[in-house]
Amino acid sequence: MREAAVISQPNPLQRIPGVAIVLVLLIALFSVIAPGFLSVANLSNVLVQSTILTMLALPMTLIIMTEGLDLSMGAVLTLTSLCVAIVSLATKSMLLGLGAGLLVGATFGVANGWLVAIIGIPPFVATLGTLGMAQGLSLIVSDGQSVVGIPHSVRDIYSATLLGIPVPVVMALVTYAAFHGLLYHTRFGTYIFALGGNREALRYAGLSPNRLLIAVYAIGGAMAGIAGLLMTARMNSGHPTAGLGLEFDAIAAVAVGGTSFERGNGWLLGTVLGVIAVGVLRNGLNLISLPSSVQVASVGVLVILALFLDGLRSRA
């Protein structure tokens, strides 16, 4: 069988141009129209500000690869951020705060996974419901007020550096490495491809798709917990609308990054580039003094464009 010769290049190579072109175009555009965009201070600012989004977008990639979606991520992050703030305030311990955030986040993740996998509710509605629940709980635990006066140990995480690199960036890099290893080098990662690509294949191999699916959503929730710590550190407070709409930026990054909403075709590096693209877009618009509302709208347009192109590609 000499048919191997007709096989084309690996897919990621074909896909790089999509995100890369978007990113290069955005950087080129803002270099010209936004004074100060290309400064080292600003660019590192973009990177630091992209860290929270990275921590949401990476697990979102896995979730979307299973033909799922997690609309609750931003609201869960809000809740975990508040939990971190409240617990660390009460115990003066950053680690206990992080623990609380992780626990609450993972609980929501498991709940999402349970609703999607076991009950069989379509992911966008199940997570819309848990979005409401997380939002409600945030209002209840905070009584609609900011939680202030949190310990320095929490706040310092955002501003500290390790070997000259900001700690949030280090955390994002470690997260990326962990997700890369998880998706491409473990059995679990292999099964994530199968969850979106061919669930029957998993059943034939004697594996339980439901448990895997719950695990994927649980990872999303737990990551929202860690990101919640960063959010609290960044704002030096817990705020009941802190994570509003962050899930949308995460979905945008995943979509721009070339992960397909069908058939389990995911690409983690693309997601990271997508996160930076969203960060550059917001930062650039900010520099030319356009309000955050315009940033929100343009990210919306970006997503619709990316999905449209994704649709074209999968039909071609």
């Binding site: 069988m1 191997a4 199968a194 061919n198 075709n265």
Partner: protein, 507 residues
């Protein structure tokens, strides 16, 4: 041996033997006391019409279904197959028509899905070993390809090879193949046959389901024929003729005729297709259909028959060419074609023809809403009156017009699909495999219905894989091959032999 076939006396102990397997579903006896034996190194052909029990038997074999009654013997020892894991342990693997591959994993990961070699860190995969193992398995079946290629890059034939490699890697000694050549080109088919010969030589037993007579005789060592869930006979290819096999499958004389009053003189031209080319893979199609005619459209599965039907109906886009219906050119979406009087009765009635959860009445009037209610105001009672009329006219067996259509039998569902176009007053009926999955009694009813339609001045274009039906029912037929019209057969030329000759790849 319970069946006492003389040939089996001389054979060694069967690799696997099934005795008295029965499987019942609500209202249907899918398998009824089926016994058969599989020997090492043989290709065992499984033949039968749609619904004869082939796929049920296959699912029982691989543990997806649990038999209600019966026994399994593996190398003479009694065993139980009650799960896919049991079947795997016995070395049974099934190559389904719908592959069980994951598109964005590579070949090695697919072959060893769920059985990945463990790496040093817990949870990780030993990448070197999985590639080397995959390489070795691919070598044993003679498939020369890089195991780190992702499966979405592979063609159908290559994917099938990966499936077979996966089965071999699980030490499968019994390979069940369900119409493996259905989607393959001739060259790919040859390669598959070469592989099957190789596996046979290694002592692997192959259970092969096929609808192609040529394959049955070229490959088969033994043939088991199923009909209505029962084993009809077990024979050697040398001892039977194709005609005898067909008779066993259908259980009646092959040349049973369907009711048909052939028109002496067809009416005026209703549909004229000129040079139709579409991106779905049809080229320069020229077809003419007259009132009072049933025109057949045949050819192999995948030759572009359904694509022609969909293009005429506007369901798929068209690159070039002209469709003239009733004297006027049409182009556009299905709603336009339907309004002009074209009806499409699609191949998969459940997914494309009906809203299964809605009532018979809802389904019957859906295409005729504008005609029945020109004011735009819908009236449930008047809709039901129309539906009741159609139910009587078509003799649809349903307790009432309000019955959920998904609860009807296949034949009655098909009548509902036809009925909705009757209500719409269509003039040209395009049937795509109108008798698929319908039992024989209902079949002749459907044909009688089509006959009445054209006798009343309508016309029909009928796609069917059952050449016998085309020969008996059609006034004339077009034969397609690889997306083109390969030839036209008049009533007198219309024989199975001619259809096959024109439809074959190297005719």
């Amino acid at each position: 041996m319970s069946d006492g076939l003389p040939i089996e006396v001389t054979l060694p102990t069967p690799l696997l033997e099934l005795r008295g397997i029965s499987k019942e579903f609500p209202g249907v006896k899918a398998l009824d006391d089926v016994s058969f034996a599989i020997y090492p190194g043989e290709v065992h052909m499984l033949l039968g019409e749609n619904g004869a029990g082939k796929s049920s038997l296959m699912k029982v074999l691989c543990g997806a279904y649990r038999a209600d009654a019966g026994e399994f013997y593996h190398k003479g020892e009694r065993v139980a197959i009650s799960s896919t894991a049991d079947a795997q342990k016995l070395g049974i693997a099934v190559i389904f028509q719908e592959f069980s591959l994951v598109p964005y994993l590579d070949i090695a990961q697919n072959i060893f899905l769920g059985r990945e070699p463990k790496g040093r860190i817990p949870g990780t995969i030993d990448r070197h070993r999985i590639l080397a193992d995959a390489r070795r398995v691919l070598d044993t079946i003679g498939f020369d390809i890089d195991p780190s290629t992702t499966v979405d890059k592979l063609g159908v034939a290559q994917q099938q090879m990966v499936e077979i490699a996966k089965a071999i890697s699980q030490n499968a000694r019994i390979l069940v193949m369900d119409e493996p050549t259905a989607a393959l080109s001739d060259r790919e088919t040859e390669l598959l046959f070469a592989l099957i010969a190789r596996l046979k030589a290694d002592g692997v037993a192959i259970v092969y389901i096929s609808h192609r007579m040529a394959e049955v005789f070229a490959l088969g060592d033994r043939i088991t024929v199923l009909r209505d869930g029962r084993r009809i006979d077990g024979v050697r290819p040398a001892d039977v003729t194709p005609d005898q096999l067909v008779r066993m499958m259908v259980g009646r004389n092959v040349d049973m005729t369907y009711p048909r009053n052939f028109a002496d003189k067809p009416g005026e031209v209703l549909l004229e297709v000129k040079g139709l080319t579409a991106p779905t893979g049809i080229f320069d199609i020229n077809i003419e259909v007259r009132r009072g005619e049933i025109v057949g459209l045949c050819g192999l599965v995948g030759s572009g028959r359904s694509e022609v039907a969909r293009a005429i109906f506007g369901a798929d886009p068209v690159t070039s060419g002209e469709i003239i219906f009733d004297g006027k050119t049409i182009s556009g979406e299905p709603d336009l074609a339907a309004r002009r009087g074209i009806a499409l009765i699609p191949e998969s009635r459940k997914s494309e023809g009906l809203a299964l959860l809605r009532s018979v009445s809802d389904n019957l009037v859906v295409s005729a809403l504008k005609k029945l209610f020109p004011s735009g105001l819908f009236d449930q009672r008047s809709a039901q009156r129309t539906a009741d009329g159609l139910i009587r006219q078509l003799r649809i067996a349903t307790p009432s017009a309000r019955q959920t259509v998904g609860l009807l039998s296949g034949g009655n569902q098909q009548k509902v699909v036809i009925g909705k176009w009757l209500a719409a007053g269509s003039k040209l009926f395009i049937f795509d495999e109108p008798t698929r999955g319908i039992d024989i009694g209902a079949k002749s009813e459907i044909f009688a219905l089509i006959d009445r339609l054209v006798a009343d001045g309508a016309a029909a274009l009928m796609i069917s894989s059952e050449q016998i039906e085309i020969c008996h029912v059609c006034d004339r037929a077009y034969v397609m091959r690889e997306g083109r019209i390969a030839g036209h057969l008049t009533r007198s030329e219309l024989t199975e032999e001619n259809i096959v000759r024109l439809g074959m790849h190297h005719a």
